[in-house]
């Protein structure tokens, strides 16, 4: 009789983990046949013994394979951390002090492509965003105070604060708890709940014509995870001045169409087969690219991958938003070719959680779009739509 018995792993030192892992997680133990049962014919017993050994062998092989994969991933992660540690030193000691001279050099561009180390990410983002809007600490303080006053007024006037008002501040309150809900950072009682409200509230005072639009909470949240509130606000406000984000957040519908058509042109050029597949299935950019642009991928990709994309969006500008989109489509090309309309749209607005950022960046790297081409296409579409 064969019983499957779970035994606890007793690994002590990491070097022995692999060896123990294969034997100890799911052990198959061959027990003697209970006495009250008639004994098996010899031949059958032999056959069962062989089957048992075979099963054991298969289980071992499978476990060993899994361990090897895990080890490789750990190794890669370690390598990546090592690269980031090395480049962190370079960023701090060489690049940041000579920012204007070095930022465009090929070595820096290359290091940049590999991803900015998380501990200095905020600093580089701020430098790379080339602030057009200068936001002082005093200005921010005033904006936050104004927000607080407005919010207190609301609380006084409307006893049923929950969802009874059209004020953007109420909407912000509602959305903050729904921003990266899995992180637990922005929900009531979370460490960044108050600062996220402050940033978004301050923006409604800073730019009342734009106010608050859903999607903003994700952008501001990603900044807030990488820097302190004042800088996060300045970065957020300046990001919304970039041409693509500005067109979308100001709801310039004809400009949005021009961006979609530019994207379609690049899509056709780079991935013609997939483009045709999308056309046949009536999948259009407004179904998925819209979400990617509004939240700069933070709504549909894991946070670490999002941050790596933002690194290069701030290096290269809007063009990288479109290269990333094409990179995603290219990475999942064969999967997408097997899907039909609604499945495609569903897949693209909720991308797999385990997307490998290195593979994605390899795919993006293969997408050929020059700045000239992008700019001239966009300009052409703007002219066609009579905007600007």
């Amino acid at each position: 009789m064969i019983n499957v018995v779970e035994t606890a792993s007793k690994a002590r030192s990491p070097s022995k983990v692999a060896a123990l892992h294969a034997n100890s997680t799911t052990g198959l133990i061959l027990e003697n046949r209970p006495n009250h049962l008639p004994s098996k014919p010899k031949q059958e017993e032999l056959k069962h013994r062989q089957q048992y050994l075979q099963m054991l062998e298969n289980a071992k092989r499978k476990a060993a394979k899994e361990v090897a994969i895990k080890e490789k991933l750990t190794e890669e992660k370690y390598d990546r951390e090592e690269i980031l540690r090395q480049s962190g030193k370079k960023w701090i000691e060489e690049i940041i002090p000579n920012w204007q001279n070095m930022r465009h050099s090929s070595t820096v561009q290359q290091i940049w492509w590999q991803g900015i180390p998380p501990n200095i990410r905020g600093k580089i983002w701020k430098l790379a965003l080339d602030f057009r809007l200068d936001i002082s600490a005093d200005l921010y303080k005033v904006l936050v105070e104004k927000t607080d006053e407005k919010f207190k007024e609301l609380a006084l006037n409307e006893p049923q604060l929950d969802s009874q008002s059209d004020s953007p501040l109420i909407q912000i309150k509602l959305d903050i708890s729904r921003t990266f809900p899995n992180l637990g950072m922005f929900q009531v009682g979370g460490p960044y709940h108050a600062s996220l409200f402050e940033i978004l509230g301050a923006y409604t005072q800073f730019k009342p014509t734009v106010g608050y639009i859903q999607g903003m909470s994700f952008l501001a949240a990603v900044f807030l995870l990488n820097m302190e509130p004042l800088t996060a606000f300045a970065c957020f406000a300046n990001l919304l001045e970039k041409p693509c984000q500005k067109s979308f957040y100001e709801m310039k519908t004809t400009k949005m169409q021009a961006y979609y058509q530019t994207f379609d042109g690049l899509f056709y050029k780079n991935l013609p087969k997939l483009f045709n597949h999308f056309t046949i299935n009536n999948v259009t950019p407004d179904m998925y690219l819209c979400n990617w642009i509004y939240t700069l991928y933070s709504h549909s990709l894991p946070l670490d991958v999002t941050c790596r994309i933002w690194d290069i969006v701030f290096r290269d500008g809007d063009i990288f938003i479109f290269r990333t989109a094409l990179g995603i489509l290219s990475l999942y090309k064969s999967k997408l070719m097997d899907m039909k309309s609604i499945q495609i749209a569903k897949f693209l607005t909720k991308l797999p959680d385990d997307v490998d950022s290195d593979l994605l960046f390899d795919a993006i790297n293969d997408i050929r779009v020059t700045k000239n081409r992008y700019n001239s296409m966009l300009l052409q579409h703007f002219e066609n739509f009579n905007c600007k």
Partner: protein
């Protein structure tokens, strides 16, 4: 082999009215207090089996979830075009959420060319005092019923938290699309069931069960 039909269903309604939660409950059978706001649109698909005597049909529901933020309204036509059914959601405890229903009804009636069936869905019954929750109804059921009747729309009530009425709502949508009649009334308060509109506006005499 069953006959297979595909139909597009769009969800509209004010932000926070529970559109995404409704779909998540229907598709994944779970409820979460904090779902991300929908930016642009989100998509799901589910197949409903309909059996009617000897006749069997499969209806594939292509469900389009939309952003509730009013600022995104200019984009809405991109998402509701070609829908054969629209579920307009409102939070039963929020008057403003209900007020938005009429906006979407008018928008659809004016701008959608093909026949688009309307469903008005009051959400979050679990929050209402009559179901043991903390809040009062913001709008009386008779008012909604009268409004729905005028539009030839159907009114249902749901709770994504306690999984109330959701499967039935989508079954109703699928059955209407396939021209089937349900033998069970869709979820609605007992007092209202007698005048439930779908029993009167469908000609078919026979009914079917799931």
């Amino acid at each position: 082999m069953d006959e297979v039909h595909t139909t597009k269903v769009v969800l509209l309604g004010r932000t926070g009215s529970g559109k995404t939660s409704l779909i998540v409950r229907y598709i994944s059978s779970v409820f979460s207090e904090n779902v991300k706001p929908t930016i642009g649109a989100a998509f799901s698909k589910k197949t409903v089996q309909l059996i009617h005597g000897e006749e069997r049909k499969q209806v594939v529901l292509a469900i389009w979830d939309t952003a509730g933020d009013e600022r995104y309204e200019s984009m809405a036509p991109l998402y509701y075009r070609n829908s054969s059914a629209a579920i307009i959601c409102f939070d039963l405890a929020d008057r403003q959420s209900y007020n938005k229903v009429d906006f979407w009804v008018k928008e659809l009636v004016e701008k959608v060319e093909q026949n688009c069936k309307l469903y008005i869905c009051g959400t979050k019954t679990d929050l209402l005092a009559e179901y043991g929750g903390p809040l009062k109804r913001a709008v009386g059921p008779t008012e909604v019923m009268a409004y729905a009747k005028k539009l030839n729309a159907k009114f249902v009530e749901t709770s994504s938290k306690s999984n109330y009425g959701i499967d039935d709502l989508f079954k109703l949508v699928a059955a209407d699309f396939a021209g089937f009649t349900l033998c069970e009334a869709p979820p609605i308060e007992d007092s209202l069931r007698l005048q439930e509109p779908n029993q009167t506006d469908v000609n078919e005499k026979s009914s079917c069960c799931f």
